[in-house]
Symmetry: C2
Subunit: 337 residues, 2 copies
DNA sequence: CGATCAATATACGACGTTGCACTCCCTCAT
DNA sequence: ATGAGGGAGTGCAACGTCGTATATTGATCG
C-alpha cells in the first residue's frame, strides 16, 4: 500500500495538515519542521494521491485533447505539441479520438469522462456552425479549427483564407495559371476546405484569372489515398493544368505520387503546393512547398488559453479568438526553371 | 454545479445508496424505484463524479500510454490503435511523451502522475537491459518494444529478428546481393536496431552471402532526416549496393529520397525495403515494400493484457511475453524487372 | 396466524486530501 | 505592562462515491 499523509504525519510527529502544508509549499511551516517532514516523506516514498486531491480541490492537473484521429499526421503532430506545452505547465493530457464523426463529437461534449480532467481542447471535424450551441458547456473549453466560428468559447485557429490566398498567389506569380485544387468539399463554406478554397478564389480574382469549376477535385477525408483518387480523376477527365494546390499536405503528396506515376514531372510539368507543413514535407520527392499554418503556436496558445480559463474559475470573460501567423515554405515542388 | 447522488436521491425520494445501486446496475432495486431514480437522473442531468468514484473504488477507468514522441509516425499510429482498443473497453488513455530519453523514462516510472490512472503501457527507447530493475513497480505495467527482455512485467512485442531475416531473404531471393542497411545503432544488441540487424545478418549467412561492414550506415533517432543522411554517407563513401534495408519506414523513405535525388532509380538500380508498414508506405513513390510488424495486434494485446492485470488486482501471475505475427508487404520499391 | 425468508432499501463510515477557522505563543511598539 | 500582530501549527469537516452491515417490508409456508 502506498503511504498517505497520515503515515508521514505519524512518522514526523506532526499533524497531517502540516504535512499537507509542506507539500503544497505553504508558508507558516518552520524550517526544522519542514526538514523533518521532508525526511519522513523521503523515507516512506510518499507521493500525493492525485485522485483524492482532485476530489477535494476540484483541480485534476489534467486536460483532454479531442481530435479526429491520431493516425492523421496533422493531428499527431498537433497532439505532440499540445502534450509538450501541457507538460511544461505541469499538466497531463488525455486523448480522445472522435473519428471526425459529428455524433461522436456531440456525444463527447457531454461525456462524463470529461470530468476526469479540468478542461477540453477540442478539434471538431464533423460538427458545423449549426452545432455552435452544443459548445455551451459547463467546463472550460477551447476549440480549434474552422468548423465553427463565433461560438460561445475561446477559439484558436489559423488564417486559412489569407494563407490559401497567398499560397495560390505564389503559384500565380511563378507563372502558373491553371491551378487544380485537390480535396475540396462540395458546397462547404466554413471548414478548412471551404475557407482554403475561398482563399484560392480570391487570389485568382485578384490576378484576373477566371475560376474554372473543372479544376476542382472533391474528396471526403483528407487521406493520402483521396489525394491520389482526386488526381486520377483530374487526369481521367483530361483537364489541363500546370499546378496543383492540395488543400493539405497529405492530399498533395497523394496527388503528387499519381502525377509522377502518370509520367509527369514535378515541378517541371506541374507545380505542387500543400498546406500544413508536416514533418515529412521536406522529405518527399520532390520536397513539398507548403503553408506552415503555425501549428506549434496554435498548440501552445490553446493550452495557455485553456489553463487560463481553468485558473480563472467561473468568471465569464468574453470568448476570444486567436489567429496564428502563417508562412509559405518554399521547396522544390514549385520551383521554376 | 453538477448534480450529485444526493441531489438525485432527494428528488427521487430514496437514499443515496439506492441511486448508487441503480447506476451500478446492482440487483435488489425494485422496478418502480428504479424508474423513479432514472427519471430523477435524467431530469437533473446527473453524471457520476469519476474522481470521487476513483478515490472510493481505486479504479480510475484510465490508463497511461508512454511513448517517445507522437510526431514519430510509428508511435502516432500505435497510439491511435491503443486509444481505440481502450475505448472499446470503456477506458480512456492519457499520453506521456518521454522523448526517448533514458532519464525521463526512468523518472516517468516513478512519477506520482501515474496514480491518476490504473496502469501503464510503456514503450521505452532510452532504457536498456540494465534498467530492467526499474520496471519493478507497484502498478500494472505492460512494456512494448525491444529494449528490455525478461523483465519483471508483461511484454508485448514483435518478431524483429525473424521479420528482418525474412525481409532480407526476400531481397536476396529477388536477386539483390549488396544490401545496404540504414539506421543501425553502433554496438547495439537488443533494441529494434540491434535485433533487425541480427536478422539481416542471419539471412545473409543462410544465403552464403558475406557480411560487409561497409554496407552499414549508422544513425541516431529514426527520423526521416537521418535516413537521408545515412544514404548521403553511403553515396559519399562510394559503396556499391543494389538494395537498401531501412530499419524502419521513415528511414527508408528518407533514404529513398536521396537515392532518387542522386539520379538512381528505385527499384531499377536499387531496391528499397522498410519496416513498420506506416499508413504512408503505399503512397510513396515508388510505393514502399515493408514489414507489417502487427502493430494493431500489439496495441490490442497490450491493452487487453494490461486491463487483465488491473482486473486481477494484486495477484502475481508470472509475467508473459506475447509476440505479434508479421508479414512482408510487397510493393513497388522492390519489384524486379 | 405467527415464524421464516428473500427482496428491497437504508445508515454509516471510509477513501486521502485540502480549506477554513482556530489556538498558541512569541515579538514588538506603545 | 499591555495589547496588537502575526508566525507556527492544529482539528474538523467536507469533496462524492461505494462497501458493509443493518433495517424494513411483504410474501410464503407449515
Amino acid at each position: 500500500m502506498a503511504a498517505t499523509l497520515h503515515d508521514v504525519a505519524r512518522l514526523a510527529g506532526v499533524s497531517i495538515k502540516t504535512v499537507s502544508n509542506v507539500i503544497n509549499e505553504r508558508p507558516n511551516v518552520g524550517s526544522a519542521t519542514r526538514a523533518r517532514v521532508e525526511a519522513a516523506i523521503a523515507e516512506l516514498g510518499y507521493t500525493p494521491n492525485l485522485t483524492a486531491r482532485g476530489l477535494r480541490s476540484g483541480r485534476k492537473g489534467a486536460i483532454t485533447l479531442a481530435v479526429p484521429d491520431l493516425a492523421l499526421s496533422y493531428f499527431a503532430e498537433l497532439a505532440a505539441e499540445v502534450i509538450a506545452a501541457a507538460e511544461a505547465a505541469g499538466v497531463v493530457v488525455l486523448i480522445e479520438q472522435t473519428g471526425g464523426d459529428r455524433q461522436r463529437e456531440l456525444a463527447l461534449l457531454k461525456s462524463p469522462r470529461l470530468n476526469m480532467t479540468d478542461g477540453l481542447v477540442f478539434s471538431p471535424l464533423g460538427m458545423g456552425q449549426e452545432d455552435a450551441g452544443a459548445l455551451e458547456v459547463a467546463y472550460p473549453l477551447v476549440i480549434l479549427g474552422e468548423r465553427i466560428f463565433d461560438g460561445p468559447t475561446d477559439h484558436v485557429t489559423m488564417r486559412n483564407v489569407a494563407a490559401a490566398r497567398e499560397a495560390t498567389g505564389y503559384l500565380l506569380e511563378s507563372g502558373r495559371t491553371r491551378i487544380a485544387v485537390v480535396g475540396a468539399h462540395e458546397g462547404e463554406v466554413v471548414g478548412s476546405a471551404g475557407l482554403r478554397l475561398r482563399g484560392y478564389r480570391e487570389a485568382l480574382e485578384a490576378a484576373g484569372v477566371a475560376y474554372d469549376q473543372e479544376l476542382i477535385a472533391y474528396s471526403g477525408l483528407w487521406h493520402r489515398a483521396n489525394g491520389a483518387t482526386c488526381m486520377r480523376d483530374l487526369l481521367a477527365r483530361g483537364v489541363e493544368f500546370d499546378a496543383v494546390f492540395g488543400l493539405n499536405d497529405t492530399l498533395a503528396l497523394g496527388a503528387m505520387r499519381v502525377l509522377q506515376e502518370a509520367g509527369m514531372t514535378v515541378p517541371g510539368d506541374v507545380a505542387v503546393m500543400g498546406f500544413d507543413d508536416l514533418e515529412e514535407a521536406p522529405y518527399s520527392i520532390p520536397s513539398l512547398t507548403t503553408v506552415d499554418p503555425g501549428r506549434g503556436w496554435i498548440a501552445r496558445t490553446a493550452v495557455k488559453t485553456l489553463l487560463q480559463r481553468i485558473a480563472d474559475g467561473g468568471q465569464d470573460r468574453a470568448p476570444e479568438t486567436r489567429l496564428a501567423e502563417f508562412e509559405i515554405r518554399r521547396r522544390e515542388s514549385t520551383a521554376t526553371a
